[in-house]
Symmetry: C2
DNA sequence: GTACGCCTTCCAGTGCACTGGAAGGTCAAG
DNA sequence: CTTGACCTTCCAGTGCACTGGAAGGCGTAC
């Protein structure tokens, strides 16, 4: 399977697949006589794994770690479990932040919608936004 | 007021204040005879405004736009109102994404917690994560 | 006079995940 | 024989918001 086909099948751009190889996320594949990359089914499986792991919120660096552990023959279960729990905490934090920002923004938007631009005082930069934060 | 004092008062590192000036977010301040930056109260107000606007989720680029509009003498109200509404939409999208990821992660974590590492089959990269995505 | 802390500029790097483009090789169809 | 799709490498840029460090000037206290 050439890189274009792998890209097509996986939905990951060829450029990105080469990039994954470059950063050591994917192992260098076999090459055809003409130098083209030749991928087997494992490559697709790995790539799908990367997509799954990304969907789960892991960074490429973390995915590399999991992949490396596995290629050493150890089962990455414990490691992955830790990663998952840590990510859940992070997501909760981020959710809380976002919700706070949203409340902030909603309050500002309500204020903005009720405001006549003519009322904008000259001495402050923006009377909508000075209420933020 | 020298940059260190402004940094102290605002909580924004001096390095960052210089960076803001460099990208045109803050206007170049007066200089003392020795070349030190000399800030007035307006500078602190602007810096606070930047912090508020950032807290509201605006990017530095957007904040620059608001500041630029204001410095042209026009009230940025309408512009800001649009920004706010667009940001609210973005935040809702991001919230939905995050919540989906969280559900994903929770399901994976439950699976991981219930799993004995010895059960990890050799032929898949990680039986926890193949379920993701 | 020297030590220390503050200030200056400038250049470069961080993190994250790509993405673009140039210059050129390969292969099958028309 | 040329066109076009595909592949290669390499270098460089994107976006966002900083951050680090070197090399040197300034100002005050001891």
């Amino acid at each position: 399977m050439k890189i274009g086909e792998l890209a097509e099948t996986s939905g990951v751009p060829a450029k990105t697949i080469r990039y994954y190889e470059e950063i050591g996320l994917l192992p260098p594949p076999e090459r055809e006589a003409n130098g083209y990359r030749s991928y087997d089914r494992d490559a697709l499986q790995r790539l799908r794994f990367v997509q799954h792991a990304q969907a789960a919120g892991l960074t490429l660096r973390e995915i590399s770690q999991v992949l490396a552990i596995r290629s050493e023959g150890r089962a990455p279960c414990v490691h992955v479990r830790d990663l998952l729990h840590r990510h859940l905490v992070q997501i909760d934090e981020r959710l809380a932040e976002l919700r706070a920002t949203k409340r902030e923004l909603q309050s500002l938007a309500r204020h903005a919608d009720a405001l006549d631009p003519a009322d904008c005082p000259e001495d402050v930069i923006c009377s909508i936004l000075v209420r933020a934060g």
